[in-house]
Amino acid sequence: MTEATGPPTRPGGVLGHGVLTRGASGTVDARNRETVKCWACGAEAPGGDLCGTCGRLQPLPPGGDHWTVLGLPRRLGLDRVDLEARFHELNWRFHPDYFRLRSPEEQAISLENSAGVNTAYRVLRDPVARVEYLLESEGMALGSAGQARPPADLFEEIMELQEARQGFEVADPDEAIALRARLEAARAELETRHAGTEADLTALFARWDAAGDGERRALLETMRDALATRAYLRTILRDLSATLEAGGRTE
């Protein structure tokens, strides 16, 4: 074999994190049409989940985002109870369990629709995932770890913490005890801070929902910064926990 081979890499900043989208392979035909027609009988405007003419299950509208799939306006402020009710309702309508006795085409659509609903619900029910998805779909995705950055007010503290962490790994028993206490205190503080970033984000939801286009861009940037902080804190916390679990060299 002369061709170069190798494992795949994540694309850099330009392409960013792949956008999680509803599997759309079953809807390719419909996408190229100007007006929606029933895939089975060709009736114009089949209307609803089932074609009004032939009764067959229709794919979800192509190109719709997670909000559209769940029949919601594109807003960040969402009511959990309402979201769950929609998730249940749509699963009653689309779940493959209830299409097993239908044609293979309808079974495939039922699987795609159901997967689309479940994916939309998974992303939208979690406020952080919801923001990440919004940023991605606005072309402002947070890239991989490279873009995560320390919060400015914690910069000094984190630098000291990293030194303490390295010290702990090679400390003698007495030092290790003191350093462990210090690292554990730092971990508790950073965990509080990490949890706080979610509140920082959700505090902006109502503003983004009410804002005009100009203001929205600025708000998205603020949210992206909050996410970057969050990602950074998560990395620090993970390293810190790994260090504490491994224990000092001589502990």
Partner: protein, 623 residues
Amino acid sequence: MAELEIGQARRAAPRELVVGIDLGTTNSLVAYMAGDVPQVIRDEEGRALVPSVVAFGPGGPVVGEAAKRQLVRNAERAVYSIKRFMGKGYDDVKDELRYFPFRLTPSQEVVRIRIGDRELTPPELSALILKELRARAERHLGRPVEKAVITVPAYFNDSQRQATKDAGRIAGLDVLRIVNEPTAACLAYGLQRKSEGTIAVYDLGGGTFDISILKVQDGIFEVLSTNGDTHLGGDDLDRTLVDLILAEIHERHGTDLFTEAEAMQEIRLGAEAARILLSSEERTVLTLPVPQHGFTYRRELTRTELEQLIEPIVARTLAPCRMALADASVTPAGIDEVVLVGGATRTPLVRRRVEELFGKTPHCELNPDEVVALGAAVQADILAGGISHMLLLDVTPLSLGIETLGGAVSVLIPRNTTVPTSAKESFTTSVDGQGVVDMHVVQGERELAKDNRSLARFELRGVPPMPAGLPRIEVAFLIDANGILNVAAKEVRSGTQASVEVRPTYGLTDAEVERMIEESFEFAEEDVRARVLIEARNEAETVLRATEKALVQGAALIDPAEADRIRAAAAGLRSLREGEDADGIRAATDRLNHETQHLAELLMDSALRETLRNRQVESIEKK
């Protein structure tokens, strides 16, 4: 009865028959929906459990009780706990092989078990158990059984699920759904008691442990999270006792019995029996004759002693419980009900620890050995178009991702995502002109691919030559309602549809499964004959019943000689019906159909005249 009788309008086709199967580590069961109630199918002696044991003797394989009796005297050719090997590689199981008398062939791929000069994979062995269950169902129901729902531990990974599905295919079953055991149990409880709320299902079986947290509301059974250990169960409780017995025998007699298959089986079965007995008794006496060495091991064992031995094993179930609670964002106080599933939950220590963790008394109204099979029958009925007021939304237990450069994992679908689900992600190349991209699909929660479960490798070929980083390779994952993954990949920028070839890491390829199905047909001529006989008998029964009815209705339409000819043909069929000669039964059925042809036509005419007369009466009345 001749086909013309169908003029009386054929009844709607009976609901499709789909059975529910609990394919367990120690025991297996089959259940079906008898009307609105799921029912476990028992044998002539009333036993519901089929021991999951396959023994190979001179007359071919035997399964169940008969095989279990051979565990000691035919130890090297009697295979048990096959489920622990499903979807595994040799390296995964080599550490516990000392507990098993049968031998494995070392290999990099799927486990192969050596029996005499044959080598069998776990799916082939499981298929023999499935066939036994299928035959049991066919005998009981008098109908061919072709479709099934099979349960698996919730924490089974993709390879283990796929292996179970393969076993079904090899057994000639169309596996409509793979359902998670704790979820199935919850369905069975849900059908019985119509309860709602947040439910924890603690399922400790013969070889696997699962914990699932479900939210039950308005007929929806939504799994919030699941966790577990696919290598932790009653077998492991027994091993603590086996180790104690072996150590004491060594101490007292200086004998090491590890390598003696028969003695090991005797000890294992003795340990199991003692452990089960101590669930209801405070003390027991273990008596294990070891004739090979001329001594008998005897020892009193109390429940307290047993509990000290098994405490660390029971403790291992608690961390997964806590993780499942955390993933579901539920505290123990937020759990409305706890349900116990699996024979090992009869152990008092297990009940105490579960009660302590959740702070409430667990439910066990439904037999913990049977509840999973009952739930499988419920799901089978949903799929057969029966029950339409229940919907199960299960999750994928482990995160799924792709290995990227440097050996890290990029997660596409996180654990506890409701299935079906899909995800797409873009990747690119790292070398200029790279034409082939190796994809490695892994499952698990670790950061590095090598620490996770390898599911499959595939190559994406035909990527047009481009500088590194330019191609955009879109990988799409789709998990179906069985929790089984389908992967597709394409290079988007060039629009080239590259080919994908998936090689399962610890599974069977489609070609291998096909070959096993063919082989199993060779061994299964017996099965086919049994099915043909069942069908012939059923057809005979239908025709006989229709004939009796027609003879009464049409008594006045035919002369006595014709009636006698029909009776003679019916008697001929009746005498053959309980015999074993399927061809004879069919010939006699055809003969009876032939003799009743004339009567059927007469009845049809009279039915038509009757209908016309009724219409005339109606039209007169309307005027």
